[in-house]
């Protein structure tokens, strides 16, 4: 194919439209993307919906030049273009904001912006750059402190800085990959509202990958739904209901439903009691201070909060990974120090966030990882000296089939499993046997519809069987669906508590944002 560069290069600040025609991408015999044609006119806000593995990111990567499509073509402003690399995409004004931040954490915002430019002078004149950045920022819908290292910014600010980076680099079409997964509802609304404003003024075209229907219905003009690599439907958002979109997304698959919530018994005994816990956070500059937190048997207590407000530290204290400076934790009335012995006696189980790195030995096999709770006890009780490999294998086989963990082999390293399957495997290990207290942190982060439904159903089942559950999550929808009570954590403290049934999202959001 001869590369023709007859498209006039875009002007910064003037939206470009794109169109794909019959985009197909094959990896060997696997077709990841099958004849997908989408049209995103200039100055529109287009949503791309689909489950994990539906081909959303493959499509976007073809547009951005990370992949070279097997067949099909891409047009920018009505002219066909060949995009060989992200650099080519950049010349046509196409940019992308990734789900995982690509900002360099130890550099300041200004440094991150300047070093990403195509031409950086050998010696950077910061006085001049700062002046130019200040002029540039005046035109921006959001203000971000540019002189602080990016690692000190909140997730919402980082996300905004990523978008500002794309605009600074002169992109006029940007792909947003699940941009609100780390934001509070209020932050998400603000950010998307401002971005939508830019599309309405014709400064920007947006293609947003999302899982959240309410965002799509509120902000997008049109939507395209992918399922297993194929176009499952598309249309104007104003003409589609959430139900239509969900049906296009998952097809006729029946999702596991949550068990009916059994009422919490009035005399349910308190399982976990946390009193006056104080601990420094990982920067050592701030600390968490949990006054009083009680979780009863058969109850799910949800902890809401923007990431970085001490939830991780609280989970670490409860798991024994972070020594508290003051206060006490007791389980079923006895003091709890999170040793292996104590957690075994009290049937405490723990599912941390990012379970692959926090609850697994990534290079050990699935069988071995599944045996972490039991390998050192004999079936009859007492400490085991020799490993009973046969029993470990049998147990692993039954857990794998019970929890539908998809793995090539029981003896493959657990790191080879997909995120959802690692999560399922850890859930299988932690939820088997008697569980009196379950501490779960962001169990569904980054998982698709069916995996999420499955995992939530398992947790609800455990709750109905009398397990006390402490659920730390950044996803408010999840907390509202799962919890009996919701508490909000902000700046290391529990600042608000409400029964989930009468919870008001805007009040919770305000407390999350620190207005209390």
């Amino acid at each position: 194919m001869i590369q023709v560069r007859d498209t006039p290069l875009p002007e910064a600040g003037k939206a470009v439209g794109i169109q794909t025609i019959g985009m197909t991408m094959r990896f060997g015999s696997f077709t990841a993307l099958d004849n997908v044609s989408i049209n995103v006119p200039a100055g529109t806000f287009h949503a791309l919906l689909g489950e994990n593995g539906a081909g959303k990111s493959t499509l976007v990567k073809c547009i951005m030049g990370f992949y070279h499509q097997t067949s099909g073509s891409l047009s920018v402003d009505g002219r066909e273009v060949v995009v060989q690399s992200p650099k080519d995409a950049a010349t046509y004004g196409l940019g992308m904001v990734y789900q995982h931040f690509t900002l360099v954490p130890s550099l300041t915002g200004a440094e991150n912006l300047v070093i990403n430019r195509a031409h950086v002078p050998a010696v950077i004149n910061w006085a001049k750059e700062r002046r130019e950045l200040a002029t540039f920022m005046e035109k921006m819908p959001f203000q971000i402190p540019l002189d602080r290292p990016v690692q000190e910014l909140a997730a919402g600010e980082k996300q905004k800085l990523e978008i500002i980076k794309q605009l600074y680099l002169g992109r006029s079409f940007i792909v947003l990959d699940e941009p609100t997964s780390v934001l509070t509802p209020a932050e998400a609304d603000e950010m998307l509202g401002l971005v939508r404003g830019m599309t309405e003024r014709g400064e920007l075209t947006v293609l947003m990958i999302s899982h959240k229907f309410h965002e799509v219905t509120k902000f997008a003009d049109a939507v395209t739904v992918l399922r297993r690599g194929k176009m499952a439907g598309s249309g104007l958002v104003s003409e589609l209901s959430t139900k239509d979109m969900a049906a296009m997304m998952i097809g006729d698959v029946k999702l596991p439903e949550l068990d009916t919530r059994l009422p919490v018994a009035a005399d349910a005994r308190p399982i976990l009691m946390v009193n006056g816990i104080k601990a420094p956070d990982r920067t050592g500059l701030k600390s968490i201070d949990i006054g009083n937190l009680t979780v009863h048997a058969g109850e799910i207590v949800g902890i809401a909060g923007i990431s970085g407000n001490g939830q991780k530290e609280l989970a670490e204290v409860l798991a024994g990974q972070r020594p508290p400076e003051a206060g006490s934790i007791s389980i079923k009335g006895t003091r709890y120090g999170a040793t292996r012995q104590e957690s075994r006696i009290n049937n405490v189980r723990f599912i941390p966030e990012e379970p692959l790195s926090n609850a697994c030995a990534p290079k050990m096999t699935v069988t071995e990882n599944l045996a972490f709770r039991t390998f050192d006890v004999k079936p009859a009780g007492g400490n085991a000296v020799w490993l009973d490999m046969k029993r470990m294998r049998q147990r692993a086989a039954s857990l794998i089939s019970d929890f539908k963990v998809k793995t090539a082999s029981h003896s493959s390293p657990i790191a080879a499993l997909s995120g959802g399957n690692v999560q399922r495997a850890v859930l299988a290990r932690e939820l088997t046997g008697d569980v009196d207290l379950l501490i779960v942190s962001n169990p569904c982060f980054g998982l698709d519809f069916s995996a999420v439904a499955e995992i939530r159903a398992r947790i609800m089942k455990a709750r109905n069987a009398g397990t006390a559950v402490l659920l730390l999550s950044e996803d408010l929808d999840e907390l509202l669906e799962m919890s009996d009570r919701i508490m909000v954590m902000s700046e290391g403290k529990l600042v608000y508590e409400t029964p989930a049934i009468s919870a008001d999202i805007s009040v919770i959001g305000a407390h999350m944002a620190g207005h209390h």
Binding site: P86, K87, T102, L103, V104, P105, S106, L107, E111, V114, I115, N116, V120, P121, A122, V123, I124, W126, A279, P280, R282, T283, G284, R322, P323
Partner: protein, 307 residues
């Protein structure tokens, strides 16, 4: 003791010792700071240092110019760095293991090639006398400062400035903090690290040249007392900040001069214990400034020890 100075000889001797002993630490730690800022550790700098000392001495003997000796040392140091960087770009190669191998290789090669140069005398690097205002010979001798110390101080300032104000400095920090971000920017982390390791090797070799051409100013197999290894610890202690490296090297040098200084004022008992002062000091400071519940501030994110 001579008149007029008495006990003041101790701080003066510590100052002089700090300047004299710290110079190789300054160069090796600045070199290692560059390498580590790019996300790689080169533990082989002890070997590079000794090989640099041998090269500098041998070339100075043959050419008659200590400066050509220093340049030759830098060239061999850069080659050692390039070899380290080249091997490390292959997948599943551990930079620390390669560093240890390169250290042994450098030491062995230096002793092998350096045998004929133990006898001849090389021209020494010059020094600048800043003590002319004083009548006291002790003050004058303490303020006779070698050229390389001044160069090292300026270099620390220049690096500190360059890390934030130049394109190369920013690229180095990007690569050291996140390989993925660097690739997304179209940079090749392996190339940047290769060059950073070469630059680090060249600087470490200057440290070696100082040992053989200024203080102690001769070439033999016991010329280094682990400066190349201690400097790696100094970089962590200095939190990867070039000016911090300079100050840490001075502190370390000063602590090292404590033993000889006490000996010179007549303390005869237990001064050997003070020879251990730098190591005790390093241990104490590292323990005092570290914490199991806090992340290490300033550590380059892509460094293999922080993963």
């Amino acid at each position: 003791m001579e008149d007029g100075i008495g006990i003041w000889g101790v701080p003066l001797a510590i100052l002089a010792g700090a300047i004299r002993v710290s110079t190789p630490f300054i160069f090796v730690s600045l070199g290692e700071a560059i390498t580590e800022r790019s996300g790689r550790i080169n533990l082989g700098l002890e070997g590079t240092l000794v090989f640099g000392a041998m090269t500098a001495y041998a070339v100075a003997v043959m050419s008659g110019s200590p400066y050509i000796g220093v340049l030759a040392a830098m060239a061999t140091g850069a080659i050692f760095g390039l070899v380290h960087g080249f091997i490390c770009k292959f997948p599943k190669v551990n930079d620390i293991a390669i560093g240890i191998a390169m250290m042994q290789f450098g030491l062995g090669l230096a002793f092998f090639l350096g045998k004929p140069f133990i006898q001849p005398v090389a021209p020494r690097l010059p020094s600048i006398s800043l003590g002319g205002w004083s009548d006291l010979p002790q003050v004058q001798s303490a303020l006779t400062i070698n050229v390389l110390f001044i160069v090292g101080g300026l270099l620390a300032l220049a690096l500190w400035w360059a890390f934030r104000n130049t394109r190369i400095g920013l690229i180095l920090r990007v690569v050291g903090d996140s390989s993925d971000a660097a690739r997304a920017m179209g940079l090749n982390p392996d190339t940047v690290r290769l060059l950073a390791t070469a630059a680090g090797g060249a600087l470490a070799a200057i440290g070696g040249a100082y040992l053989s051409l200024y203080y102690p100013g001769s070439w033999n197999e016991g010329i280094s007392s682990g400066q190349g290894l201690m400097a790696v610890a100094l970089v962590i202690f200095a939190r990867w900040n070039p000016i911090g490296c300079f100050l840490a090297a001075l502190l370390f040098g000063g602590a090292g001069a404590l033993g000889p200084a006490l000996q010179s004022v007549g303390v005869t008992q237990g001064y050997y214990l003070f020879y251990a002062a730098p190591y005790v000091l390093t241990l104490a400071i590292l323990i005092a400034t570290s914490s199991p519940t806090r992340a290490l501030v300033g550590a380059p994110g892509a460094l293999s020890i922080t993963k």
